[in-house]
Symmetry: D2
Subunit: 483 residues, 4 copies
């Protein structure tokens, strides 16, 4: 029954980046990176890597799996230096193999360089074809390698690494939050739309940190300085922090799903706290369509924040009706179909005492295929809920994302096939409501400045055409790495 | 600052047991055990094991580490049979080594047998000495091996395995919830005080399941039948479930800390739902000493349940002010002292937006050393809390536990050294309150029937004398297993 | 063609033991044991273990696999103390699982004890049954555990560990070379027949070493002192070496196959160098039946020694005609049947230049199933050998071994089904000859004092009766350890 | 004493290559490659890899360590296709890390390609600099990556992969035996000097195999067809074998050390059997300087072949006086200095019975630092040798190798510091003799056609100038891969 949501089917985030540059020898950059990756583990659980830089000598360790599995004391202690660049990866493009783990480390015209990338280039296929036509070779299947090539080629005629990075960016389309480490400098760059978050922190007076989310700053003891602005390029070195390319000032289009689902509730992105945004979504859902009910329950984790907001506004008490088993992660052995039916309550389980005999408002962050809702509503009823009112803290998914979110094909999206009313009926809920598109801005407390293309189809930047997308899809097939 | 509670210092549970006997070939007992262990992983994360039984041929797999790390598809598929016995372990007594992993599998007079044990024998040292005097050899350092010996010796003159188990129990003092698997039978036994939980579930008509907690029944698709009663011995075989020794009817003394901290909120122990008990603790704390405040916050995980109850009764809104990083587990590399100060917010982090400028009631389940409280209160204030009122959902720890809970030495327990008023001052909180001992019964909604010895020193069963305790302490030293 | 002998089908040795007691702190007993095990790796490749003893505190590390795989620097450095006991194992009786790895470490009446055992008890089943009837439990499937029990039970009424060991020996039938380590003493005992080798060495003045073979003494820098005599028990402690039970003086029956195949050529057993014995076998084969030939070739490894002897006596030049790939060991992936035919020359390969167009005398140590000879003769001919004369440096295998050698069932032994003439014809060789039984004594240069039961059926000690042997065969089935 | 030669100090070979193209579906190319690598494991033990090709879809598995450790059944079964390219690596240039494991697999203008390389480019630094100046990036530190780039760039303007490879070769200086696999074709190329061996074999009618040594052909069931000639490029596809570039006809300069030490005795290189060449070296050493002696002994492994030849010519009997422990490989834990003295006989041990009281001729293949000889002579004397006459089956090392052999710095080469007479005295031998340079041709039975630069300084191809060599030395430092 509950088994659908026992097996991840939520959209996935692509990556988390981290960088640190510390003239202060008392800061251990390897441990700081380890902590920064741990805090951002939710952004990618397939592989991870830390590259440190000891006056030009780079030490690198990359592995498949979680941060806690990938690094031990001995490895951390061998990662020397006062600068580091690190990455956690979830693979949308590029197979899930060790060769694709980031940061990418390479030798180029000016020595060694490391690159960590969060985002998705919409012109990756074209860049790749163009470079290959020039005789480039590709040893990975990640678009970061194309970025590396362009930086390397630009560096030939540039006077500095930051100039080479700045000259590279115009070639890139789509989303990217980059951390680039050269022997002397650590550079952070965010695409002109600012699709993915990227922040600056500071430890003490002279140590600068770049990270995808502010929770990584907290984890390594840094204080938040500010966001890297869309189109901006900043650089840290022994002398401190420098803006090397000013923000474009273009309309920001941060992925609104970062607030709804991806980011940690304790992070602050572009000035907005994620938890507060989620609570406001709950509050807005109450205002959109109030309902007479006895308890408010959230589907862990992000549904809980929305539920707290809904409860606060409505006055209906918040209850913990569903608990998540935090020991079940990526490597969990999925039971056979036959077993599934019996093991429904493995990853999520109910606390019937919280809602038995009561009218329940159930908050979830999104509906993808819709089967989950139906099962969830059904098990809640079986466990004694008198009524179940489904409230979704985002608008219906109707469009693919090209900027780094892994959303299933349109064929799989229930909202592409059915109206909200139909979805409500199919779910078996007593009522259903999605957050309205016009409530996304109020949810964030801003006028605009975010990307809602997956809900509206209004893409703020060019998207790949279909034929190329298909080619990209086939792209990784010819190399299958084993074990 | 927060670092103390980043490094586990809560009391630890010892173990979780699981057993399944299925005449129905469509039930895969290995996968059912896997799911049952996953659901009970919170009861022990150091080692785990599953032993299956295919008409007398036992297959066994035991490993250090988490259930998801220990088993893969290939291993599960090689665990054949229609009966199984399984275990997750946290080591209080007995070193944390593979040799000590359970279930214990052995050959004895009637073939093969497997034993899984949750609890702590208070006469382990005496049993051990007595057996050793007879020429017994001990290959592990767990008290389960002594139980195995007595069963084996009783079996010589018994007509059945269940008779041998029943004859063994009078030799045992202290706490035990046992699952014993013989070639034909699966036996569950709970000590006369019922210190540790043990439940019976059923899948379909003929498959019986034994587990420490009901959440394991949910996880493997079983429905709850009833608790094994204190002193009761039940047996499952191809013909169904049999009571082979009736409950003693003695006053039950279930460990109250199971409700306060150990068990999962979705479990029901001896008729009481854990989540409801925790909420009632929050409710009683409000009634004990109401306070004028703006938000209620809980320290994850069990503090959250108490906070929800406190909020519900007081009308003060519940907020998520502290989030836990669920990727940080057992194998996390602890930073050096220097790094600690900087990485305070790694395992738990704050959401200041939830309480900034507000008067906070902070719910935690217990105070052990007290340093955590002080730091927690301090970081909350730093993050903008106007007032912090500390509420602890259990009475002060003042006595050691001999029944399977790993509580630090008296010297480390702040409540043994200081009054509640002093603890309040030391914590820096604006006010402090513990759940009163007389409110434990109302918390559970019963008249009695639980063990509160760690709070009161009223031990419901004999305890080891000091000199023996010391010997037991030295017991595992002479064998140190490496890697 | 050659593929049969690419896949081990030689008889297997059971184990190698090692012990060291050093009052001299400058000797690292863990490294000495590591070296001693490396030198004896040929005696067992399935599992290995080292147990050290630091004034009564034992440290133990046991693993499946080779010595180089099982131990790393960190493990060796954590094995503290000035006494050690170690073991390499090949499993005849008892499944190949980690639980069965030796030395067996246990707590008993006088603290901790470790036992390493090479040999095979012919009354293991009876001992086991008897102990089980008394309520003993068996956690492994090795007969060493029964020895441990008897020592433990004897120790109850003995005044010392050596007395307990001495009292234990009369219970044991069959073969054993034992090293027993108690908190203060290291004891070595050899069965009254002296079936398996056991030697004493010394490092400096006060450090005593026990080992299966002298090559282990060389490897750890010890000088050979003398053999432990059949029935003798010696003990080393801080005060030096003590004979605690005199040799029985019974007729010695050392396994003659130690000389023919098992032991290393650089070892000296009971006064006889293995290499010299093998060369004499070659010499005797020439004398038994001279042949007109051009080159002498040996099948690696032990066939080479016999070939050198044959060449020396006959004057026919010795050539290296077959080379062995030393990188192919235990874990080599065997090809499918189809592939086998193609990969015949993987483990052994020919150097046709050494014998092309020549008449070859081919020396091998034994014939088990006979298919190997046929293939070997055939590929030699294909590669250009004009004639192939097969000479086997042992008599035909016709009887099972009960003293620790793993010889296939009679049904598989070609010499039980066919005469030597028939075997010669089936092999396709131009002539064949086995070493005559009456030449075993001249091969060793002694009058007698060895066991040749596998050739003659003259068992020097009682053997198990058939029905019991069958029971023993089924003995390990009921416990199958997975991974 | 013997410990110096217990710790590898012989020159090292760089690599072994393997390729197979089979239109015949009954040939499993993954298993054939596995067997081919096993047979060539002596050429490189640090990493290995197999890449298969299923109609353009490449599957790749590369690992650190030995072939038996790197591959299991599951991995082999997942390597699909009818073409494969494989490699074993010993690292001279390029750090010993997984990133540097070969075959190099990459996407380039025409899809996917894999390259395996044995040899050393003398202009690697220049190629690298030139490519980097064009904006190329290097993700490994092996010169193979430069070859890959040039092939990729030539492919842009070539009509076929073989044309691109042919156009690439003129850019390369130094030694290379290459196997290149494109989606449709398998190409083998050998440098114009033919420094490193490369052979062609065939299985059945249509399956072609390329390998470094003929022993790999034997191992996978292929028959030897012929050598790839110096400067020749051949190509195998579904239609059979094609010569795509004729041999240059230049004077061949195969590394003579392949015969003396590197290659397996059962291999035939450029028409000469390695075992026979080694025996002839022994024979020539007798003729150079006969000595009155009682036994001839060889230092395993290659010294044994020379000893057999020496014995054959001289009539002095060959004996096995030194045995090698084949279980001690790469991962063996070296003892501390203190332990070394005691563990001298760990890797090699003596059989004193073979030479006690006798005059010994000791054959070894080379002397590098000289300390080994001294120790070896000394332990032989201690073990009873009356005289020790040292014979070395190669001339003295005096010059560095730039073509793929890892010879220590001149400062470490004893023959650069001392005359042969001095070396003889320092060794403590009663007499010493090296194979004379003028006897290298007779040893091979040819007039010339080999490289003896390490003995003579006559380099048959340009060598890097010193300053560049230094740069190359520093080349890999800036990237240190951890774990």
């Amino acid at each position: 029954m509950l088994n659908e949501f026992a097996y991840e089917q939520k959209p996935h985030e692509e990556c988390g980046v981290f960088g640190i540059c510390s003239p202060d020898a008392s800061v251990n950059v390897a441990y700081a990176s380890y902590n920064g990756l741990l805090a951002q583990q939710h952004r990618g659980q397939e592989s991870c890597g830390i590259v440190t830089n000891d006056r030009g000598v780079f030490s690198s360790s990359k592995s498949m799996g979680l941060v806690t599995e990938a690094f031990d004391q001995q490895v951390l202690d061998s990662l020397l230096g006062q600068m580091a660049c690190a990455h956690v990866r979830y693979s949308t493009a590029g197979a899930s193999v060790r060769e694709n783990a980031q940061p990418l480390v390479m030798r180029y015209i000016k020595g060694t360089i490391a690159i960590a990338h969060n985002g998705n280039l919409t012109n990756a296929y074209e860049l790749h074809e163009e470079l290959i036509q020039k005789g480039c070779i590709f040893q990975t299947t990640i678009d970061t390698e194309a970025i590396a090539y362009i930086i390397a080629q630009q560096r030939v005629t540039s006077s500095s690494i930051e100039e080479a990075v700045i000259r590279t960016l115009p070639y890139l389309r789509g989303s990217y939050s980059l951390v680039v480490m050269s022997p002397q400098k650590l550079i952070a760059a965010r695409d002109p739309n600012g699709f993915r978050p990227l922040v600056i922190g500071r430890i003490g007076e002279r140590t600068y940190v770049f990270a995808s989310e502010t929770c990584a700053l907290d984890a390594c003891g840094a204080t938040f300085v500010r966001d890297v602005e869309p189109g901006e390029v900043v650089m840290a070195d022994r002398d401190g922090l420098h803006v090397v390319q000013k923000p474009t000032g273009r309309h920001k289009s941060l992925c609104v799903f970062e607030y709804i689902y991806f980011a940690r509730p304790d992070s602050v992105i572009d000035g907005i706290n994620v938890y507060e945004a989620r609570k406001r979504a709950g509050c807005l859902l109450w205002k959109q369509k109030p309902v007479d009910a006895d308890v408010v329950i959230g589907v862990p984790e992000s549904g809980i924040d929305a539920a707290i907001g809904y409860a606060e506004t409505s006055g209906i008490p918040y209850q913990k009706g569903i608990v998540k088993n935090s020991y079940i992660g990526r490597t969990f052995i999925k039971p056979t179909q036959g077993e599934r039916e019996k093991s429904v309550r493995l990853k999520l389980n109910l606390i019937p005492h919280a809602f038995r005999g009561k009218r329940v408002v159930l908050l979830d962050d999104s509906i993808v295929r819709g089967t989950t809702c139906a099962r969830l509503v059904s098990v809640l009823r079986d466990a004694g809920a008198k009524e179940v009112h489904l409230r979704i803290s985002s608008p219906p998914f109707r469009w693919p994302c090209y900027y780094g979110t892994d959303i299933p094909d349109k064929d799989c999206l229930i909202a592409c096939q059915h109206t909200v009313e139909e979805i409500g009926k199919m779910s078996g809920a007593d009522s259903i409501d999605y957050l309205r598109v016009e409530n996304l801005a109020p949810m964030l407390g801003v006028e605009g400045g975010f990307c809602d293309a997956c809900f509206t189809g209004h893409y703020p930047a060019p998207i790949p055409n279909v034929s190329v997308a298909d080619k990209m899809y086939d792209y990784t097939k010819p190399i299958q790495r084993v074990k």
